[in-house]
């Protein structure tokens, strides 16, 4: 269970998030939508404790993120699988090594790692590119490596920040299928996204963030923007 109580985050003088209250049950699938600069990534960064809130309380399962000591942070992060908006792949590791690294840090056995990593790379369609370095991959391929790394440890919570921004609709559909499969096995999925088509055709609980505040929280919410390209 994830709980935000009166959480605010201030950068210098401006608020990126303001008095957020939010509760996410285990096994939920949650979209976070909102305009560029609304505070979606900030909310996600608070979840994996890349940043600390200026005020308020955040709880994830047994962890109290506000009081947590630096040295315990890795154990929180091992329960989460994160797809970062800018991927954050290790530039000097290959596709395979990048995904394996997330398992290695939990001191799993080599044989287990080998099998599991090739499985997830197959899942995201990159098995044939396992020996490539990130700068030898296309944008969408890098994004899929990041997705593979996020799910490789079968985390309790998957957090994805704009995971389909560099993917064509076909591949995006495959990715959302993967996330929904993972979700069906009991994992919570939290996804910040601008992909309105996806949100509308695969409805789940949706919160909309605007200027640092949650302005909408609907169970099968739709992405409203009716033909703005006209």
């Amino acid at each position: 269970m994830i709980q935000f109580i009166n959480v605010s985050k201030k950068y210098n003088r401006t608020y990126a998030l303001r008095e957020i209250n939010l509760r996410i049950e285990p096994g939920e699938f949650l979209y976070i939508v909102g305009p560029s600069g609304a505070g979606k990534s900030t909310l996600i960064k608070l979840l994996y404790r890349q940043i600390r809130p200026t005020s308020g309380l955040i709880r994830i399962n047994k962890f109290n993120l506000t009081k947590m000591k630096n040295r315990n942070v890795p154990y929180l992060r091992r329960e989460l699988g994160v797809v970062f908006q800018d991927f954050k792949l290790l530039p000097r590791l290959t596709t395979y090594e990048n995904v394996a690294y997330a398992m290695e840090v939990t001191e799993k056995r080599p044989t287990i790692i080998r099998n599991r990593v090739m499985d997830v790379l197959n899942l995201v369609g990159l098995a044939s590119k396992s020996r490539r370095f990130p700068d030898e991959l296309s944008g969408g391929e890098q994004q899929r490596v990041a997705i593979a790394r996020a799910i490789v440890n079968r985390p309790k919570i998957v957090i994805a920040d704009e995971p389909t921004g560099n993917l064509d609709p076909q591949t995006s559909a495959e990715i959302i299928n993967i996330f929904e499969n993972v979700n069906r096995q009991g994992t919570s999925v939290i996804m910040a996204t601008h992909n309105s088509e996806m949100v509308n055709q695969r409805p789940h609980r949706l919160i909309e963030v605007v200027q640092g505040q949650i302005v909408r929280d609907e169970n099968k919410g739709a992405y409203h923007h009716a033909a703005i390209y006209r």
């Binding site: 630096n70 290790l90 690294y101 840090v105």
Partner: protein
């Protein structure tokens, strides 16, 4: 730590060293050059110290024997001198021999005093176990029978001690300075390379690696960098010094001096260079990382 984790850390450290390419080359060569300087300098300083001690040891007590002392009396005096505390060796030099030395220093105007005209005395030249002991030995020798006078060169010897002392002080001071400089330069280079990889460390943290887990490969990589960086200077120093030892042997022996014998000397020096390289490489890496392991 499980065995496979140990293996992983070792493998990771080598992989990183390899893939960092020019960065690794640059840091290894910084270590190389620094250790080369340190090695050459240490070899120099240690030999200067050795030489300066040997020069000090050249200060002897000159014991002038009373004119008309018989051979057996001289033998008795020699034994007495040998039995004094802190005396190492006692050598005899006849007055004829002494005159030759004077002529050598002051020109042939002394030649006229050869034979019985020789105004000089026979002399025992006493060397002490430590240069500083000459003074007490002199005082003791003066009290013995058949001794006209005993002297050690007085102010001159004192000045020599002082000069040699100053040289050794400077050499030691400069060695300490150079050691600090070497430590600083090596760790500074390691710091810059780690600074340039702070994003990497950040990502490792973000995917759930503990600080200890992140540290190990960097620690090892620092150690390899130091180790690799010490290979070339060790080879260069060993060959260079052995060569120098050989070619200077003849010349220096004629003065009565010699460089430190290479075998043991180089062993100690090599060990020191490896230790400095490896230790500073590894510990420098750890210290430089600290700041980036907080998020």
């Amino acid at each position: 730590m499980r065995l496979f984790t140990v293996k992983r850390h070792i493998k990771d450290s080598f992989r990183s060293l390899k893939r960092n390419g020019w960065m690794s080359v640059a840091s290894v060569s910084a270590v190389t050059v620094t250790l080369l300087l340190l090695g050459i300098f240490l070899a120099l300083v240690l030999n200067v110290n050795k030489l300066s001690s040997e020069i000090e040891n050249d200060v002897h007590v000159r014991v002038l024997i009373d004119r008309g002392t018989t051979k057996s009396q001289k033998q008795h005096l020699k034994t007495e001198l040998k039995e004094l505390k802190d005396v190492a060796t006692v050598q005899y030099s006849s007055k004829t021999n002494e005159l030759k030395k004077v002529v050598g220093h002051y020109g042939s105007s002394f030649q006229m005093f050869s034979g019985d005209d020789n105004p000089l005395n026979d002399v025992f030249i006493v060397s002490t176990t430590e240069p500083e002991k000459t003074i007490t030995v002199t005082q003791q020798a003066r009290k013995l029978k058949y001794v006209t006078i005993a002297s050690y060169g007085g102010t001159q010897a004192k000045q020599l001690f002082k000069v040699m002392h100053t040289i050794r002080q400077w050499a030691t001071g400069f060695t300490i300075l150079l050691l600090f400089v070497a430590v600083f330069l090596i760790s500074n280079t390691i710091r810059i390379t780690i600074l340039s990889r702070r994003d990497e460390i950040g990502i490792m943290r973000l995917v759930g690696a503990t600080n200890a887990y992140i540290r190990w490969p960097f620690f090892l990589e620092g150690a390899w960098t130091g180790l690799l960086g010490s290979i070339l200077p060790i080879i260069a120093l060993d060959f260079g010094y052995s060569w120098l030892y050989r070619i200077t042997a003849v010349q220096l022996t004629s003065f009565g001096y010699s460089l430190a014998e290479p075998r043991y000397f180089l062993f100690v020096l090599n060990l020191l260079m490896i230790i400095v390289g490896v230790l500073i490489g590894a510990v420098g890496a750890l210290i430089s990382m600290r700041r980036f392991l907080k998020v």
